[in-house]
Amino acid sequence: MKELICSTIERNVVLKCIRDHKRLDCRTIDETRSVNIEFRSHPGCVSVALGQTCVIAQASCRITKPKESRASEGNIRIHIDMSKIPLMNLENWKHQEFVQELNGILEQNIRHSNCVDLESLCINSGELVWSIKIDITVLNNCGNILDCANIATLCSLYHFRLPEVTVHGSDIRVYSSMERRARPLRILHFPINVLFAFFVDGRYTLIDPSSDEERLMDGFLSISMNQHKEICGIHMGGKLGLKKEQVELCKKLAFKKILELTDRIRQVVTDYYKNNEPTIHTQPSIVRIEDGEDSSSESESEDSILIKTDMVPSPMESNVSLLLMPSLDRLSLSEDNPINTTTVADKSASNLENDDEQDNE
């Protein structure tokens, strides 16, 4: 699939509209499109629609070994997938570049702003931490994927529930949500992104550009802020130079939108958990008993994994792979994974995670 090229008459009309301080979709210059947030039954799965732009985000967690330098911190990764929508500008490499740029901005907004308390993801310092991954799939592009993906990521993190873990010496037990209620992540603040588009050498500014405007803009400025008026990331692209006052103005506009959106996200998630009882999943709980530091006996550690296989794993829970413990790397994934009885799609997901693990190493 490829996106059609922009004709001269489209360009003329869009630019003429902007000069008249009007927009093609009857919004004003500083009006964003309406945000629609919808949660699925699985914790951490959310679909966000910004106008016609639609994005699905899914958070998943697994247990990994922390970095040497940060022994008591978990980590968060973001992966954005845009293979479902038409290519931008007909060329494949440009598309890839665009995806990478988006991913970079998102990582800066979410990871580098420390919006999630990474230390709360620690299970056993230096040995085991939770690693959270957010997969974002763009389903429709009507402009401003960045804001939409950013909101989806935050909603997904805020909606996600981490399974409860107990540590008794060397016994580590991961409880299913049926046995013990899963706990939410500790989110310190919401860094929300607002995108501005600039036209005619930065003379005209638009908030939340649609796809037509995005195709014709000279450059963009994305500001990520939280409700305490702290800037978590600022990004400029395209070919333009901006004055200080313009950035200040954008900042002011962005802050207004961010206050609305933060309240909105809080409201939506609390409403969800008020209305819906925490869903009961039938994931088998996994008990892992380590016999001290005796790692030479491989067969023993294999036996010590007790899986209650009498319960059928639900396909919904399957993307929370609880078995991926670091010390089990040498065992092949397909043998030990309790979810290998489910569909092919799940298998591919677990393979993906396996690949990721290899990347980490």
Partner: protein, 239 residues
């Protein structure tokens, strides 16, 4: 699992369709016409859909599936289409029409163009023309009819606006709907709808164009009543 679908019901690809209720449709005297999205399997003697949408019967013994389709699968010879010029070559233009590949348009296929006087067409211009598809070859466009007259086709004027709508809606607007006439009673405008789902509109002011676009897109989204659309048009004219 044999739930057979009837006329005006929603089907998915692979659904069997009960056209067998008809009075012996495969008799020699009655021949059935299957439109896009329908398939007849000779071995099993059954009709199946390979599209997604509603089964329609516009007149007796003619059937098709009315739903969303890609431009490439629904274009055929003699369709009027709108395209954007991607490249200008020595004697021809390459035009993007939403098909798998770019269509070619000879520069001599404009009204009054000769070897000396070629029309002034540039990259990004919008072309309204007639399509000619010959089997697997590259599609071709002409901007003249049999008499060598333009007949409304050619390069479209600068002061218009181009946008896309779904193909089934475009076909509806061309053939069945009187929405365009109704809107024309309110305000004068020019419109060209291509069979590939692109719409070009030209009106006196930008505001009218925005309003027209909004109404047509609203019509594409959900099939609401004409009177509602007219009130929406009036509202968006004022705003």
């Amino acid at each position: 699992m044999d739930i057979e679908r009837q006329i005006d019901e929603f089907v998915l690809p692979g659904d069997p369709i009960a056209l067998s209720t008809l009075p012996s449709p495969l008799d020699a005297c009655h021949s059935i016409v299957l439109g896009p999205g329908l398939h007849y399997d000779k071995d099993t003697n059954a009709f199946t859909s390979h599209g997604c949408g509603l089964v329609r019967e516009p007149s007796s013994l003619i059937y098709y599936v009315d739903g969303h389709r890609s431009a490439a699968s629904s274009l055929s010879t003699d369709d009027l289409i709108l395209g954007i010029v991607v490249r200008r070559q020595l004697e021809s233009l390459l035009v993007d029409i939403g098909y798998n590949e770019l269509a070619s348009l000879s520069l001599y296929d404009f009204e009054g163009s000769t070897k000396r006087t070629k029309p002034n067409v540039d990259r990004g211009d919008v072309i309204y023309g007639r399509l000619k598809i010959d089997g697997e070859c590259q599609p071709q466009i002409t901007c003249v009819n049999e008499d060598g007259k333009a007949d409304g086709m050619g390069v479209l004027h600068e002061n218009g606006y181009l946008f896309s709508i779904p193909i089934d809606v475009a076909n509806d607007l061309i053939h069945h709907d009187n929405l365009l006439q109704e809107l024309g009673n309110e305000i004068p405008y020019e419109i060209a709808i291509g069979a590939n789902g692109r719409v070009w509109i030209k009106a006196t002011t930008t505001r009218t164009m925005i309003a027209l676009r909004k109404v047509i897109l609203e019509r594409a989204k959900n099939k609401i009543d004409i009177n509602q659309l007219k009130t929406l048009f009036q509202q968006s004219l004022v705003s």
